[in-house]
């Protein structure tokens, strides 16, 4: 079920390059789970911004002093719409739709898990890690960012999980490779049977490729541009194949955003993402 809500911002704080917003949205908070998103109309009524911005829910509290709240983390260095969200202050109103998509499936028994996320996409991972820990899972957490200002929730994660690795790009190795190397190391030395990953497609493709030889299930939460967040526009398509081998596309907002990595046709997906525009100058 999707809920539309005029959500009031009740708290905002800085987290490195990000802003952490707490919004009163009781109906969304009641049913939201880690891995789900909210879609926000940005820019206000007189804005030239027509598309919505869909961001992961970093936490939801069904009951609180102000009623149920959802929390989101947005990048102050993001595009105009995301920046508008980051600039919201207490008592501002934001038009939200949520919770969007399918949440991370949780194991029915205690297993070892690697949880990995990059940038603002990693917003919900501390929440997820808390739920895994409550089920008795042993967790290794990997958080990546383009620089130390773009790391989400390291302090909170360390409160919940004993082993948190922080990954930044080096002079000669990109972030995706560094994240993949950290995951490979954990899979080699540990006994994880599931990887939970959140990020943009290139990062997730790297994690999926690393985990594949280990035979580990990868549940990935694809942080994709979703201009409506409701399935109406069909713009957030991800190419997948079913168990029977049928190839088709699904809408990330309605049938994702959490998918088993082995269902996604990563090369085609990455090719589609890179092929939508031609850079004519820089």
């Amino acid at each position: 079920m999707l809920v539309t809500s005029k959500a009031e911002v009740i708290a905002t704080r800085r987290m490195g390059a990000f802003r952490h917003l707490t919004l009163v949205a009781p109906q969304i908070a009641d049913i939201a789970k880690p891995g789900q998103f909210v879609s926000a109309a940005v820019g206000g009524h007189a804005s030239a911004l027509v598309g919505r911005r869909t961001v992961p829910i970093s936490n939801a509290s069904p009951s609180g002093t102000y009623g149920g709240t959802v929390e989101i983390i947005v990048d102050s260095d993001g595009d105009a719409g995301v920046r508008w969200l980051a600039e919201r202050r207490a008592h501002d109103e934001v038009d939200l739709i949520g919770p969007i998509g399918r949440p991370f499936p949780l194991p029915s028994s205690a297993v070892d898990a690697v949880v990995v996320g990059v940038g603002a996409s990693a917003a919900s991972l501390s929440w997820l890690a808390g739920q895994l820990r409550d089920r008795g899972c042993r967790i290794d957490l990997v958080l990546g960012g383009t620089d130390d200002r773009h790391l989400v929730g390291v302090v909170e994660a360390r409160r919940i999980v004993g082993n948190v690795s922080v990954v930044l790009p080096s002079a000669d190795t990109g972030l995706s490779e560094q994240v993949a190397a950290a995951v490979r190391q954990l899979l080699r030395t540990g006994e994880a049977s599931v990887v939970y990953a959140a990020g943009r497609a290139p990062h997730l493709a790297s994690v999926a490729a690393v985990a594949q030889p280990f035979g580990v299930v990868v549940q990935c939460c694809i942080d994709e541009e979703m201009p409506c967040g409701t399935g109406l526009c069909g713009s957030c398509e991800v190419p997948v194949q079913s168990k029977s081998g049928d190839r088709h596309s699904i809408r990330c907002c309605t049938e994702g955003a959490v998918l088993r990595a082995d269902r996604v046709r990563w090369p085609l997906y990455l090719q589609d993402l890179s092929g939508i525009s031609t850079v004519v100058t820089s």
């Binding site: 030239a48 201009p227 109406l232 069909g234 596309s249 939508i276 525009s277």
Partner: protein, 320 residues
Amino acid sequence: MSAALDALAVDVGGLRLKHPVMGASGCVAFGRELKRLGIADDLAAIVTPSMTASTRPASRRGVLRESASGLLAPTERPSLGVDRLRPTALPWDDDAIGQVVVSIAGTTIGECAEVAQGLRRNSLMRRVAAVEMNLACPDAKNSGRPFSHDEFQATKAVARVREELPRSVPLLAKLSADVTDVADIARGCVKAGATAIVVGSPLRAIGRPFGPHQHIDVAAPSGGLSGPAILPVTLRAIWDLRAAVRSGRLAPVHLVAVGGVSSAADALAALAVGATAVQLGTALLHDPSSARSVVDGLSEHLSHNGIDSVLDLVGLAHEG
């Protein structure tokens, strides 16, 4: 039906609507998403994505790009083929979804006719309240020039589709606003059997990301611009068509405005220049509750000004 709803009821070329607000093709899917959002009842009718003769996957991902007050959508979108329709399991088969207008498209006149024929055969016209012919598609036999840019080809295509559909089914011809004289093209379509004219399709455009960027990247030139940015173009096209009807250049025909309508004030402007109904597209993507606010706004305007029927507003701007 309450008096308030009676005041909003309109007839668009034989398509009877409880109020003048419809959902535009490509922005409401087949209606199920509207149901999930609890707003399926807010629209008097939905227009399905354009259906083709056989299912057509997109050769590349169809990403929407933002531009100032608009969205740029790729022209090439995947489509459901009418050959996949089963009369007992239609994609829009849900009682909660109101009237369904099926949009059809083809790349040749023969294919347009084939789509209409397939629609009739494979849906038995069940739940098909009307057919909207998307004439903005490139005509493969006319160097890729859209049907809606060529009076002769548009007329022929509408005539062939009309032959394939029962006479009782209203046929809406969807034209482009970015032509030299939209009334010329509309005249041919009406002669060929269109019962209403929908104007316009997204404007052909090339996109670049909105806002300052280090890289200037340009989307493929097969995009169509929609959203509030094109409302003035839509209003102008409706004005021209209404003026053509008044001067006798165009036979009396109902007009539907689509392109940039996002508020009750926009809808009132569209009615004033000559539209009998409006379709919401980008507005629904930005705010799915906009359908309700447009209908409420229209209703409020009528009661506030003591107007008995929304039809009294149609073409008012031409009276002055």
